[in-house]
Symmetry: D2
Subunit: 371 residues, 4 copies
């Protein structure tokens, strides 16, 4: 059943396969009156784009996004925004040989069991290619959050396999560094280490996991709809919906298991909260503190080293994934995670205050007649 939409008031619906003619999406519910251009969205798309360094897949995509509707004279109209990105560099032949095999750790087997068939070219719908549209839509959500509520969403790579960078406020942490290296590392000192680690990893033909942290500052109190559509629950849903994610934390996350109540609860003073173990969410509703979430990304299963698997007939066989892949999908995940957090926050901002709260009609309503 249809599972390609996310959000309730600010809704993204997406389509597209890795090796089809194009991928695209529709953002429905964006408030009117928002200045918006394709360039606004290109920025984040370029941050996600493959082939930016030797540490990511060498597939080349210009990832140029087109806005097909919902914007008139440079401003959103309240109508749905159609987004389109052409696929360019498709080497389908790379995948011919695995058409009849299930790559272990991939969606090949589950898609086939669910749908009875699959588009095997580059993973088809299950490819991370799909996340480009999330990033484009996330760009609209970011604009929306910034304009309507002054919310800022950003993220960084907190762990690359065994290499840990730093948390906000820790020594060496610098937001400005994040955009200055291909890893989104907030710690300059770690970059060389990561380069070396990745070079060795690539030689070995293996892959590695990573952890990304995303933070939203300026979130007003009151966002989130208990008891099920809590802000933290929807964030968990959105982040876990990203390819390769196996875990999500809010605030203290799993550390809270060993915390005492007196230690975990963030005291409140007229000067504000003391600490942020809550990660900006209490009872499923934003507290006004920064919203802090972490996600764990598994190592890609597409590696050059042979793996045991079965074929379409259930017979034992081996598979080696050629094609072009990220040895660490986490490296490009920061803009994607930011986009998902922005989509959830924009949705809840609009659920809370309404899409048209700021609309000023040009004239006062005409008088009504009798029925």
């Amino acid at each position: 059943m249809s599972g390609n939409s996310i959000g309730r008031s600010f809704v993204l619906t997406s389509f597209g396969e890795s090796h089809g003619p194009a991928i695209g999406g529709i953002v429905d519910g964006c408030p009117p009156g928002l200045p918006l251009s394709e360039a606004d969205l290109q920025q984040d798309l370029d941050r996600r784009k493959p082939g930016q360094s030797r540490h990511t897949t060498q597939r080349r995509e210009s990832d140029r996004v087109q806005i097909l509707s919902g914007v008139f004279e440079g401003v959103t109209t309240g109508a749905p925004i159609g987004l389109l990105i052409q696929n360019e560099d498709q080497r389908s032949k790379d995948y011919a040989e695995i058409a009849a095999k299930f790559r272990p750790g991939h969606a090949d087997y589950t898609y086939t069991m669910k749908y009875g068939r699959r588009d095997y070219r580059g993973g088809g719908r299950s490819s991370a290619r799909e996340t480009a549209i999330r990033v484009a839509a996330g760009g609209i959500a970011k604009r929306c959050l910034q304009t309507l509520a002054g919310v800022r969403v950003r993220g960084y790579l907190s762990r690359l396999g065994p290499i840990r960078t730093a948390a906000v406020g820790e020594p060496g942490f610098d937001w400005d560094q994040v955009e200055r290296n291909p890893f989104f590392s907030p710690v300059a000192e770690r970059v060389a280490e990561m380069e070396a680690y990745m070079d060795a990893l690539r030689k070995s033909g293996d892959s590695i996991g990573a952890e990304v942290t995303v933070i939203a500052e300026g979130v007003p109190p009151g966002l989130g709809e208990p008891v099920f559509d809590r802000l933290d629950a929807d964030i968990a849903h959105a982040l876990m919906s990203i390819n390769a994610v196996k875990g999500v934390e809010i605030g203290a996350g799993f550390d809270c298991v060993e915390q005492k109540g007196t230690e975990h609860r963030d005291a409140m003073t007229p000067e504000g909260f003391v600490g942020n173990n809550a990660g900006g969410v209490l009872g499923g509703i934003s507290s006004g503190q920064p919203v802090v979430a972490r996600l764990a990304l598994k190592p890609t299963s597409s590696v050059r080293l042979p793996g045991r698997t079965v074929d379409l007939t259930g017979q034992a066989t081996e598979v080696i994934t050629k094609g072009r892949h990220d040895p660490c999908v986490g490296i490009r995940a920061t803009p994607i995670a930011e986009a998902m957090l922005a989509l959830v926050l924009a949705d809840h901002l609009l659920r809370h205050r309404g899409q048209n709260a700021d609309v000023r009609p040009p004239l006062s309503p005409l008088p009504a007649s009798a029925p």
Copy 2:
């Protein structure tokens, strides 16, 4: 906006405050033909019920659930199932003194900022009391899963603060032990240790976090609706929607950050998968492997030790939470987590195969006439 429903095909909508006359819910989408009685649901409600041991809140609730509709002659009809549980032991006076203060780490502040007011009696809607209906509805979901697909959902306490029990297959792990102690510990040896820990904790007036693991066995391959309504994403949403949860993991969870691809990907053989780092989900779709999820529960902020906070006017003050509370909310969380996992699986089972796949009408359709 309305956030009190969960699910798409098998939907729970709930209502009720901690100290109102009753709590209740509606399960809409339960397939017809399912044998169902109140006793079937009471079982899990009793497992969650407070006052079962000295380690949980002493509030006394019989938690008798009534089925008000949707069942005729002992069998579900396909009509919505109305559930009702009367509230009995309400000591509202316990809360009078905190009516004008925000308990730190609680939803008092966020509810007040969002709605402009709050039902301060026992946390009102934000009280864990609400989870009783989740457990009742989860019981229907479990029956549904068992009957339609042979799926079994169960869970255990994997960590109580610093005390770790064991994972399935590890030495000392025994499913039969889980129901034989007040902690849902699968390891008999740990129980005494936990008793001692909790007794000391209670004396100190503080509280502690915990980790629960839930597992679904017999899940057929094919459940989950990419790219957003993935099975793992919906599980993350459902588990994170439980009070006090700050983190969710599927399969290897955060351990995958330091795993290599060759180590993480579960090889496939005609005899089945080798390992289950995926936790039973690949590409957002069930693989047929057991679905394994873990959740981190924060320590309750309701402790006898004073905490700094502000009052309704924003002035600094102190608060001591009297009332009756669980020093470790995680202890009673196992049946709740099972219920949420069951609700998600039942929803996806019905999304995948349809609510009425098994319906056999008593007669063949009558011939149609011309328009």
Copy 3:
């Protein structure tokens, strides 16, 4: 699959069968700060209540509604509102003999074919008994509309079989008359005629159809979400979801088929619209004109005269409906139609402006810390 909820921002989910212990519902999304009591809802319930005159079913139900949650100290809190009405006067034996037969024109056959079984007592879920909860929830919607936007929803019986009353503004039309007769006729002169017609009809053992008109005044311009969730489309959905409704019109309705464009389009002047062929909706969005809708209700198929049908085995047989029924279900339909129109308008009002647009928190947000 679950079909017992209506609305997106202001959502009613209902449950209950004609002869079960109780019927009930949950209103989720009602804004906080609204004064609300059971008495507020009882008013419309009493208008719909059976046995008010000899012209409706003699089933006796006090239809006392209980509010179980969402209201604290006489004011809504923003939490879901649980509604419950006990069933009292159930004569199940009346239905024993038709358990194995399908009443023609009823849902007996379709429910059985869909679900494989049915609760045959009084139509079970398909009974008009279910509409009592719609009326209770509609009462909340009316309060919401009145308080937030000054919208007034009311209706009247425009046709009873061959007897036509009058439209607003036509000679003899008087809103005050509507509540002064058992038919909700706005024309005093028609009442005696209707009494005579119904008495003769009852003697004959047959039933008759009717047409109800509902009107909402004070609807602000801007409600409705094109292109699918148009205000008129959602009104058509809500009114057609009422038992026995076979047709819905907005404004000029089917008369527009023979109208010219110059005749149909309502001219606009600084003094307001000239005419209301649009029925208050243009392009799926409210224009500020009164919203006018009409619905056609079929004659109940439950009549004392024998009808040809088949039994559970598909064999030909005859059926005579005993039990207690309305010879004209349209007579009691006015409060139900008002409720459905109010539910749609409240939903769209909140979709447009947000649930919490009026919320004033008691204190300004606490300052935020660093992440």
Copy 4:
């Protein structure tokens, strides 16, 4: 808030303005394994296409639809289907002069009041241009209904202003005629009459309303989800969501107001139903009889004759609609109405039986390991 999606299991989300670069949509939930090509959809698009005769707008659009995803090797995969239609013949200048005026009977005023601005080029989002995507998506729904359940959806023009054609079974009615004239008239004799009527109308510069009838044959019993998502209620919603529709009838429709119960209820015999006053729906669920619906379409307000209105500043003015318009929008409405009925039926078919009921995986599931 987002209102550009329709359906629950088979969902169409659309975007696009009359004079933007393109219009498009996403069909999410189409079952896998369905043969599908662009040619399959082009057929209905050509039936709706403008400029087919002198009786419709002379705007020229090739309306070529592209399928961008969800189809692999000529067969649907279960992934969302992206649809795109380029806009070609845009004469925006036609609209410059009405940018500052509200055309009476149009959505100009309501869009402006709702969103604070509007894309005035050809009505922007409120233009009937949007219906082209409904027709394309409806083509997928038709294929789905035909393949999965043998359902056939078709329609005809039952009234053109004062000219009535005929109902199925009436003298002169012939399905084969429908596609042989530009009016979709099922009665050959009426065509000349209509030609003459339209020619005179065009000369006069005015427009006229129409009535369309749509019928679905072969609908299995059991479709529809009471009590709110009834099949007839969802049909009413879908048909009323079409531009210019002011009324919807199912079966006997408004005629039921004057019918007796013994007359309206369709008797049942082992040989089938006697009559179809129900229009194929009983209690909101399909009965297996043909589903019959009628819709009333208002005359377009875009006429060459001057109309009184106000401008953006609220001042009185006059407007004459130039541009190219259909003097009777009902003429091209038949394929659109068919599409909407097909979308609703496909959605309910999948809600009832599940999207993947027919899926046959190529291999049996691999054995599961321990958790």
